[in-house]
């Protein structure tokens, strides 16, 4: 990391300093924060121009754009933090169109009093995630709100990408007969977050699965360009994502509980909290819908990628005017896998 020459008399106190209102006022303090922290960490040719926007050439084709706000609590959790999450989340939203993500923007809302050391940690984590993904953060913004009017830090990222020629992936394209494939173990992120919530801490080895999925998607698209739909089952978990796709595509689904890849630790944690892993968030998984005859090739491509090793076919799309997502239970019965109502709550009795 090369520090640009700044000319500020006192460098930013990244050890004991705190965000104050001047960091968002548009004056010298804000310029210093941007230069010594954000610019230094995200360093690239676009940011170095110090404009209020980034300008870049784009290849011909269909562009996609996605935005995502991140408000996670706690900010640091097993396996990640709000920083890398905010990079992965938006890259994944872009990638779920089958697109190659190109650029990101990042917008910060900081709460007065937030430790600069924590902010630096978060920014470093974003920079690392962005470098590893090969998707630079090319423009950004910072605002500061008074103490108690924010929750430490909120990060909004926006991403753009280009869809390869001939790829048409969309949540409304799932068709009866399609095979439903999930890219790996579900529910990890939600349980990792719960395990460190202040009022519910419990010991677990489960880490968040936060990861950028565009590499996996590229391998999948190369193997099966005719994938019908992709989505990352984040908030609300796999169940919610499947219901979204069912509604968008006007179809039903039939899942097989015995084929769902779920870690024993996740099942156990959900069991004693009275929660359902199908509604637990993921940040590094995707669900794919493809023609049944393409399923083996798609699964093979996924298994060959580090983020798709545990990929599994979990059911199929069926005709259903009610757009129900149903599941054959391991017990031998059948039930609906419904939309999440409110928040998932532990049982009382």
């Amino acid at each position: 990391m090369t520090k640009p020459r700044t000319g500020y008399i006192h460098p930013l106190d990244l050890k004991n300093g705190r965000v104050d209102m001047t960091h968002g006022s548009g004056g010298r303090a804000m310029a210093q924060l941007i230069e010594e922290l954000f610019l230094a960490a995200f360093d690239n040719e676009f940011l170095r121009q110090m404009n209020d926007q980034a300008s870049f050439q784009i290849p011909a084709g269909r562009m996609v754009m996605a935005t995502d706000s991140h408000v996670v609590s706690p900010l640091f959790f097993p396996g990640g933090d709000i920083g890398c999450l905010s990079v992965h989340g938006t890259i994944n939203d872009v990638a779920m169109a089958g697109a190659v993500p190109l650029y990101l923007s990042a917008s910060f809302i900081l709460e007065e009093g937030f430790p600069l050391a924590d902010l630096a940690r978060i920014v470093e984590s974003m920079a690392k995630a962005s470098r590893e993904a090969g998707v630079p953060i090319v423009t950004g913004d910072t605002k500061v709100v008074e103490r108690n009017k924010g929750d430490g830090v909120f990060i909004t990222t926006t991403g753009v990408g280009i869809v390869p020629h001939g790829v048409d992936i969309s949540g409304d394209r799932a068709r009866p007969g399609d095979t439903i494939i999930v890219s790996g173990m579900v529910g990890d992120h939600g349980v990792a977050i719960l395990s460190v919530r202040e009022n519910l801490s419990f010991g677990t080895s489960i880490q968040s699965d936060t990861a950028a999925l565009h590499g996996l998607v590229a391998a999948m698209v190369a193997a099966v360009p005719g994938i019908h739909a992709l989505r990352d089952p984040t908030r609300g978990g796999l169940a919610t994502t499947l219901n979204e796709i069912a509604r968008q595509s006007g179809v039903g689904m039939m899942l097989r509980e015995t084929d769902l890849p779920i870690r024993t630790e996740v099942r156990a944690a959900c069991e004693f909290l009275g929660l359902d892993p199908l509604y637990s968030a993921n940040e590094g998984k995707l669900v794919a819908f493809c023609r049944q005859e393409d399923a083996d090739a798609l699964l093979a491509a996924m298994h060959a990628h580090p983020l798709g090793q545990d990929a599994a076919a979990i059911g199929e799309v069926v005709e259903d005017d009610h757009r129900f997502v149903q599941m054959e239970t391991a017990f031998g019965g059948r039930r609906i896998v419904d939309w999440l109502t409110g928040e998932q709550l532990p049982r009382i009795c």
């Binding site: 799309v317 031998g332 039930r335 709550l345 009795c349």
Partner: protein
């Protein structure tokens, strides 16, 4: 997952289902009430009803903690929460239960009331410690399972010298509810799947007088689907043999005497109310618990002078009849139309342990007026 999967084994379920089918006499019907919401939830989530022969009907009982709380009590909690100096704490599902005018604690929270969802009574104590300038009220609900933790919270508050903590007690008693349902004679109940977690506290003995008086077999069962099926088989056998005994399927957790320590904690802090209003069952004598005079300083009803106002249910809502086992969710005109888990009118549509919510969430694919999903053959 060890010790869990064994109780959800599909092959064992099929064997049990075959046993039940063989034992159930085709020329009679069996109306079995599962008392607890935990059972109701398991029956719908695992599709147990689909494995039973047509002449065994499961009747969903009143054992869902948030379902049985009457509107008047919810209104009192909302009134408390709206006081500027009060932080009101309660368990998750309680926050969504509608009171008068479909107001709920969650809506009161959005309107500025300080309402906190907690996972245990100890969380409420912690909040009281951290907010010495606020009155922290624990809106305590539930059957015998949740009562001991409330008693512990009150005793702990005393030890800690907390002056700003109190409990709005709405704890209710299971045997009284079963007796009220049987006594009314409204629901045709031939046998009862007895409570799981409640029985770990009170034991199996309290059901004995009731089984003898109404000549109704009771089988205490765990909340796993195989527990429920095993209990159904045991009830069918008892009915076929003309027995009306209290049997214990959940012997891995329940004894005849129950948890003596928990019982003595409850007895130290609580005493019987003369009468308590239940949603569905109305006023039931000796069915609720109030805080003893000795601990009056922690009794929110005394501290805040909460006058009780009984409020009738929404006229279209059938929760009352469903809680009494007289009607099923589909008998309700507003089920799944204006009353859904996202926008509940009645309490049975709120908790996943409520009969309506369980039916809506897991089972509505087999509604009569809906076609079930057609498998694509390839």
């Amino acid at each position: 997952m060890k010790y869990i999967d064994e109780f959800r084994d599909g092959a064992l379920a099929r064997k049990l289902a075959a046993d039940i089918r063989r034992e159930a006499q085709p020329d009679r019907t069996y109306g079995l009430m599962e008392f607890c919401g935990g059972h109701t939830h398991a029956i719908f989530r695992y599709g147990v009803q689909g494995l039973l022969p047509d002449n065994i009907h499961m009747i969903h009982g009143p054992g869902c903690p948030v379902c049985v709380l009457p509107i008047g009590r919810v209104d009192s909690a909302i009134e408390l929460a709206r006081r500027p100096d009060v932080i009101l704490c309660s368990y998750g599902d309680m926050l969504r239960v509608p009171g008068s005018n479909r107001m709920s604690l969650l809506k009161a929270k959005a309107g500025g009331a300080d309402v906190r969802m907690i996972y245990s009574s100890a969380d409420a104590l912690k909040i009281a410690q951290e907010n010495p300038d606020k009155e922290v009220v624990f809106f305590a609900i539930g059957f015998e399972t949740t009562t001991p933790p409330t008693a512990v919270a009150i005793l702990r508050a005393g030890e800690m010298g907390l002056k700003n903590f109190s409990v709005f007690s709405n704890h209710v008693l299971t045997p009284a509810a079963i007796t009220a349902i049987m006594g009314s004679g409204e629901a045709r109940v031939d046998g009862v799947v007895g409570p799981a977690h409640v029985s770990t506290v009170i034991g199996s003995r309290p059901y004995e007088p009731f089984a003898a008086q109404y000549h109704i077999p009771v089988v205490i069962a765990g909340f796993e689907p195989l527990d429920v099926m095993q209990a159904i088989l045991m009830l069918v056998r008892q009915l076929n043999e003309g027995r009306a005994e209290v049997e214990n399927e959940f012997s891995r957790a329940v004894t005849r005497e129950g948890n003596i320590k928990a019982q003595s904690l409850v007895a130290e802090v609580f005493e019987l109310r003369k009468t308590f209003e239940w949603r569905g069952l109305g006023w039931v004598p000796d069915s609720g618990l109030q805080i003893r005079e000795k601990y009056a300083a922690y009794d929110a009803e005394k501290r805040f002078e909460l006058p009780y106002r009984s409020v009738a249910d929404h006229p279209a809502c059938e929760c009352s009849a469903i809680i009494r086992g007289v009607k099923k969710p589909l008998d309700c005109k507003v089920f799944g139309t204006v009353c859904t888990p996202d926008n509940p009118i009645g309490s049975c549509m709120v908790s996943s342990e409520g009969a309506c919510a369980a039916y809506y969430t897991y089972g509505r694919y087999n509604d009569k007026n809906r076609t079930s999903a057609k498998r694509i053959q390839s």
